[in-house]
């Protein structure tokens, strides 16, 4: 079965003051229908750039390399003409952003924004569009939807705004929802509500979810599969359970160890030494090797490709090929 979304060799660069920043480097991933993929990484890893590329929302200065492919429902997003792209955005593939206040238009009521989205893709009149909008708002758990239709974004709380954004993204029934750090700006109790909402919606609407996050806990709670990014590259992919039970890549292991947790004993967590290098100067060989506790001579010389680490598992690490690496 062909995947719903397939990204191949996506490479994005930006001009920078002191060179060229390689933000995403030959990123490849795939999502099947009904699947939830979490892309996890810290700042500068390239996850947001990847997400924005999917709907061609990158800033004008970004350069997407010609060999990149983004195949969605059979067509290459990167080569669609403007009208075809418009028909995809919102109706087939939609996106929810981190900061709901800046992604909702502050001078239009919620109802207007939702109705406009419907009208842009389907031949309905305003009244029918507003009815759909009210239904959608109820679906995302907003009390008194008719009232919310008339309200403006600033009149809603953070959690309610995010729900309104989700409603707007889903109103035309897209097959794929991309959520870029949808809960990072929210309080933790509201975060839990929104994550629960996303999980139940994907079930009810049978859609796929691509969740971008830096929080491993969030990924663990909702993802079927996880892809970890570092240095503009995917460094590990695995089914959710397997990744958390036994991470193959030292960076993933380091992240899991460094994350403060509520379960288990209250020990201070070991940090990953060093810092992420700038995107204009990734280290030679494996990009993580300067900070890796298991690195050996080969790691600094040759960058590993994504190696098969089991059924539906891959890790960009020489330890997969040579588990006793450096210790022999």
């Amino acid at each position: 079965m062909t995947p719903l979304l397939e990204v191949r060799d996506l490479t994005v660069t930006f001009p920078a003051r002191d060179g060229v920043a390689l933000a995403a480097d030959a990123v490849s991933l795939a999502i099947d229908g009904g699947e939830t993929l979490a892309v996890v990484g810290e700042s500068g890893c390239g996850k947001t750039v990847t997400a924005l590329s999917l709907l061609r929302l990158l800033p004008a200065s970004a350069r997407v390399a010609p060999q990149s492919r983004i195949l969605f429902e059979g067509a290459d997003i990167l080569t669609l003409d403007a009208e075809a792209l418009r028909r995809v955005r919102g109706a087939r593939m939609a996106m929810v952003f981190q900061e709901p206040m800046t992604s909702l238009n502050p001078v239009l009521s919620v109802g207007t924004q939702l109705a406009e989205t419907v009208e842009a893709h389907e031949p309905v009149n305003r009244r029918a569009a507003l009815d759909r909008a009210a239904e959608m708002l109820a679906l995302v758990g907003l009390p008194d939807p008719r009232r919310v239709l008339r309200q403006y974004p600033h009149e809603l709380s953070g959690g309610m705004r995010q729900r309104a954004m989700i409603a707007m993204a889903l109103i035309c029934g897209p097959r794929l929802l991309i959520a870029d750090e949808p809960t990072t700006a929210l309080d933790v109790t509201v975060q839990a509500q929104i994550l629960e909402l996303l999980a139940s919606l994907r079930q009810r609407l049978g859609m796929s979810l691509l969740l971008i996050t830096h929080n491993l806990g969030v990924a663990a709670g909702i993802a079927d599969r996880v892809a970890v990014m570092y240095g503009g590259r995917i460094v590990e992919t695995a089914a959710c359970r397997e990744l958390f039970a036994a991470p193959a890549h030292p960076y993933t292991a380091g992240l899991l160890q460094a994350a403060p947790r509520l379960d288990g004993p209250a020990r201070p967590t070991p940090a990953i030494p060093g810092a992420v290098p700038p995107a204009t100067a990734w280290p030679a060989g494996c990009r993580f090797h300067p900070r890796c506790p298991r690195a050996w001579e080969r790691c600094g010389r040759e960058e590993p490709p994504l190696l098969d680490a089991g059924p539906a598992r891959a890790s960009r690490c020489w330890l997969v090929a040579d588990p006793s690496g450096g210790r022999a």
């Binding site: 700042s43 109790t189 994350a259």
Partner: protein, 327 residues
């Protein structure tokens, strides 16, 4: 038992809220009668979500905002009554590290000068001696002294936060108020900065008031935890006990809401209904009652605001039906 280093009693801070030209401004009760104490050498965590008032408490302590009522005593000194030179002298004993490592540094000032500035302000060192002390501070927080000439935008988030810490340490304070010091940092960097803070506490004998919304981070740092909701403290107690079993239903929900990096974690998640209420119009009775998941919630909760009461040697909680709920 020794006198606490910091004692806050009945702190109240109101902000007027404009309700348009035709209505009288309402009063937003950001801090509504908060009392806390911190003993020398310990870390008290103050936890809450947005609108809880925890940042306002910090600002009142540091005299960035003037409270409307209450007492704050630091080592016996009435902090709120200090003025002029006495206030400035007091600043040497209690300092603050801010949340936003970028916003808390002057973008046009080299970071070395930023760390040096407190030495100049308080006349602690000049010229070459000030230089030496700046270098020592940089080393102490794990920064290469070569970075002294850099501007904030040339440093990473973690490095900037270290600069903020070095700056706060320059005056050799006894007490640090840490306002969400790692919230804006990546996970791997968070762990580094937390380790640094623990190390500094041990080496310098510091006392911390650690303000945060992330309970998992708090668990690593705190000896005692106080939870705030809508301007009031709703629970307080030793950290270990609180994480093992909280007394107040809000604390239960906070703990339960924190995502854990383990897909198999079979936790019964308590997901609260509705949004945090507006502090401008708090509900009558117990401020938490509209969202409270406690099975014993009843009419009394709707009408009578619970007082902060001692609960069976486990700490204090403001709930009519406080009970330890194991995780």
């Amino acid at each position: 038992m020794s006198q606490p280093l910091l004692a806050i009693e009945g702190l109240v801070k109101r902000y007027p809220v404009d309700r348009g030209p035709l209505r009288k401004p309402a009063a937003l009760l950001a801090v509504d009668g908060v009392s806390l104490s911190v003993t020398r050498g310990e870390t008290l965590a103050l936890v809450g979500e947005s609108g809880s008032g925890k940042t306002t408490v910090a600002r009142c302590l540091m005299r960035l905002a003037e409270p409307d009522a209450g007492r704050v005593a630091f080592d016996g000194v009435d902090v709120l009554a200090l003025k002029g030179t006495a206030l400035r002298a007091f600043r040497r004993r209690m300092q603050m590290v801010f949340q936003d490592p970028y916003g808390s540094l002057n973008p046009r000032m080299r970071v070395g000068s930023a760390v040096r500035e407190p030495l100049e302000i308080h006349g602690l060192a000049r010229g070459a001696e000030a230089d030496e002390r700046t270098v020592a501070l940089f080393r102490e927080v794990g920064l290469d002294p070569g970075y002294r000439k850099a501007f904030p935008h040339q440093l990473s988030g973690g490095q900037r936060q270290r600069v903020g810490i070095a700056r706060a340490l320059a005056v050799e304070p006894e007490f640090l108020v840490l306002d969400e010091p790692v919230s804006a940092l990546d996970v791997s960097v968070q762990a580094q900065v937390l380790a640094l803070l623990r190390e500094l506490q041990e080496r310098r004998g510091l006392t911390y008031l650690f303000i945060a919304h992330d309970l998992a981070v708090v668990r690593q740092m705190a000896n005692r935890v106080a939870v705030m909701y809508l301007g009031k403290i709703v629970e307080e107690g030793p950290a270990e006990r609180l994480f093992a079993g909280a007394l107040h239903p809000y604390t239960w929900s906070l703990l339960s809401a924190v995502p854990v990096p383990d897909p198999d974690a079979q936790r019964k998640r308590i997901v609260l209904e509705g949004d945090p209420p507006s502090p401008v119009e708090p509900p009558p009775g117990c401020p938490f009652h509209p969202r409270c998941p406690h099975p014993a919630k009843d009419d009394r909760c709707r009408t009578e605001a619970p007082a902060l009461r001692e609960v069976a040697g486990s700490g204090v909680a403001a709930c009519h039906y406080a009970a330890v709920v194991g995780r």
